[in-house]
């Protein structure tokens, strides 16, 4: 985070529905940014007046010479409007924001993704020089066709678990615990997903001697550390802004937050 942040008006190149309904891929004209996996952008279409008011944060899925790509699911008014963007529309985008994953390309990597938490890992898998070193456990609620998972499956080993029932969730939890064990001596573990999923990852990993990095999602208004809407309590009482100090945190830095999360996991 620093002087390389830019705020630009980018052009919509493509809005593609993955499932014909709620899940979308949005491609924008690419800014020339240095970025890393786990960093994010704030997006607000120029056509928005004051309602919705705030921009929306999204993980950068891919950024190359052709496009800036993000994935999203319609969850409310803002994402509904984003899904209705047309090619050529302009959107205000600022980024790359926050601190991403610290990735060692030589180490084996276990990716734990829940639902749309798969988004930041698309670029990582596609561009990794040794994709055989990567493994993914993917927990999802909706049909697999909703998620951009097909393009990854040719490259890496994927375990998918549909967590629709309590039994599924137990299976997912066990799968994660078993795998995490295997990575505890060497290798990296990267996680992204909804809060209850991250809570499960945290609880499965916290006692293991392994490097686990978790990308956290919090409501935020600015993405640049000023609204303080996304502050979380750190382990020793200090506050972290998710947008600035995160969104990727060390597992142990999220212990206080995870204690506060109530969820079905």
């Amino acid at each position: 985070m620093g002087q390389n942040i830019e705020c630009l008006d980018l052009e919509v190149l493509e809005v593609l529905s993955l499932d014909g309904k709620d899940f979308f891929r949005l491609r924008l004209s690419p800014p020339k940014w240095e970025w890393n996996t786990g960093q994010f952008v704030m997006i607000r279409p120029l056509s928005w007046s004051y309602d919705p008011f705030l921009p929306r944060p999204f993980s950068i899925s891919q950024l190359d010479n052709e496009k800036l790509e993000i994935f999203f699911q319609i969850v409310g008014k803002g994402t509904k409007l984003l899904s209705q963007l047309k090619n050529g529309d302009k959107v205000k985008v600022w980024g790359p924001l926050g601190h991403g994953f610290k990735i060692d390309l030589n180490l084996p990597i276990l990716i734990l993704a829940g639902g749309m938490g798969i988004a930041p890992f698309i670029g990582l898998v596609k561009n990794h020089p040794h994709p055989e070193k990567l493994e993914l456990i993917f927990g999802h609620r909706r049909d697999l066709s909703c998620y951009p998972i097909n393009e990854l499956s040719k490259k890496i080993l994927i375990w998918t678990v549909r967590d629709a029932s309590q039994r599924d969730i137990e299976r997912l939890k066990r799968a994660i615990q078993v795998k995490v064990e295997g990575y505890s001596s060497e290798g990296q573990i990267l996680a992204c997903g909804p809060l209850p999923f991250l809570n499960m990852v945290h609880n499965s990993c916290i006692s293991k001697q392994t490097q686990v990095q978790i990308s956290l999602e919090r409501p935020m208004a600015c993405g640049i550390g000023v609204c303080l809407g996304c502050s979380i309590p750190g382990p020793s009482g200090e506050n972290f802004q998710t947008c600035k100090h995160g969104p990727v945190f060390k597992c142990e830095d999220l212990s206080t937050v995870c204690q506060q999360i109530k969820g079905i996991y």
């Binding site: 620093g2 002087q3 390389n4 942040i5 830019e6 705020c7 607000r44 928005w48 004051y50 309602d51 919705p52 008011f53 705030l54 921009p55 803002g78 205000k92 600022w94 409501p219 935020m220 208004a221 600015c222 640049i224 550390g225 000023v226 609204c227 303080l228 809407g229 502050s231 309590p233 009482g237 200090e238 506050n239 506060q260």
Partner: protein, 303 residues
């Protein structure tokens, strides 16, 4: 064209300030524009000691605005002076410190710390935060306690310009404005946020963990405009308009009802370049209005 405005001892190069709590400590906006171009930078409300703010979810989007219940999270006055202030362009644009004290003694201590700091252009006293249990809005709801805070800060701050930021959550804004003017305030800024709520009908949960928060954004602009109009008619010191300002037209609306300057608040979240863009648009807007300066336009509402 000249857009200079005088507020107490300060001369602002233009009437555009940044509202406390929406512009961080200033440095966060360096990637988006030249801070030196701003009329002034009002930083996040500072207290004697660092504050973590309120726990849990503390922002929620609402129609044409947002609620916040941050609760004055800040790094504390000393960390600000050491870690932020030296890097701000204080020689080129006034830095205004928004102050929050839990009691009168804290306000006095804070003002004394700032009194002899040449880097500080002015003090904005926050007696209008709705999100804290002690201090904050409770000082701003009664003319005599508002005046008391103002007197104490004014005395402790020596020659520094003192702006008092008022709460809209009062019965008679004119009485409070008059009281702080009589107590020596150099300027009045208003409005702070309006207490509000948002809930989820399905989960039956409040959207803010604190349940109640402060509403800001274009949704509150008509209320802000009315209160700035009333206060500008009541006092002889400059009034700074705040509340839902999101365009250069909005800026001139507040000047039309009597404001000397304005603060851009949560609209900066919708576009981090907004303050810089508005400043660039001032001459064009003045030309459209056929005016040569702000003085001839200020308070010229046909009413």
């Amino acid at each position: 064209m000249n857009f200079k405005v005088k507020i107490g001892n300060l001369v602002l190069k233009n009437p555009i300030l940044t509202a406390s709590g929406t512009f961080g400590y200033g440095l966060e906006f360096e990637p988006f524009g030249d801070l030196k171009k701003l009329g002034g930078i009002i930083v996040k409300g500072l207290s004697l000691l660092p504050r973590p703010g309120n726990p849990g979810d503390r922002i929620a989007e609402t129609p044409c605005g947002m609620l916040n219940s941050i609760g004055l999270e800040n790094i504390g006055i000393n960390a600000f002076l050491k870690e932020k202030l030296p890097y701000l362009p204080w020689k080129h644009t006034p830095i205004v410190v928004n102050l929050y004290g839990e009691d009168l003694q804290e306000f006095e201590k804070l003002a004394k710390i700032l009194a002899n700091k040449e880097e500080i252009g002015a003090i904005e006293i926050n007696i209008s935060c709705p999100n804290v249990k002690k201090g904050g809005m409770q000082f701003g709801q009664d003319p005599s306690s508002a005046a008391r805070v103002c007197e104490i800060v004014k005395k402790a701050a020596e020659s520094k310009t003192v702006i008092v930021k008022l709460s809209p959550n009062v019965v008679d804004i004119k009485a409070i404005a008059k009281a702080v003017e009589d107590a020596g305030a150099d300027s009045i800024s208003l409005i702070n946020t309006i207490p509000g709520m948002a809930v989820n009908p399905y989960t039956r949960m409040p959207k803010l963990t604190n349940i109640i928060g402060g509403l800001s954004g274009p949704a509150i602009k008509p209320i802000a405009l009315r209160m700035v109009y009333e206060v500008a008619q009541t006092v002889n010191i400059p009034v700074i308009g705040i509340g839902g300002i999101a365009s250069v037209e909005d800026v001139f609306e507040f000047i039309l009802v009597g404001a000397h300057a304005v603060e851009i608040g949560s609209a900066s979240f919708t576009n981090p370049k907004l303050v810089f863009e508005i400043i660039k648009e001032l001459p064009t807007m003045a030309k459209k209005l056929g005016i040569r300066g702000l003085n001839e336009y200020r308070g010229s509402l046909y009413a």
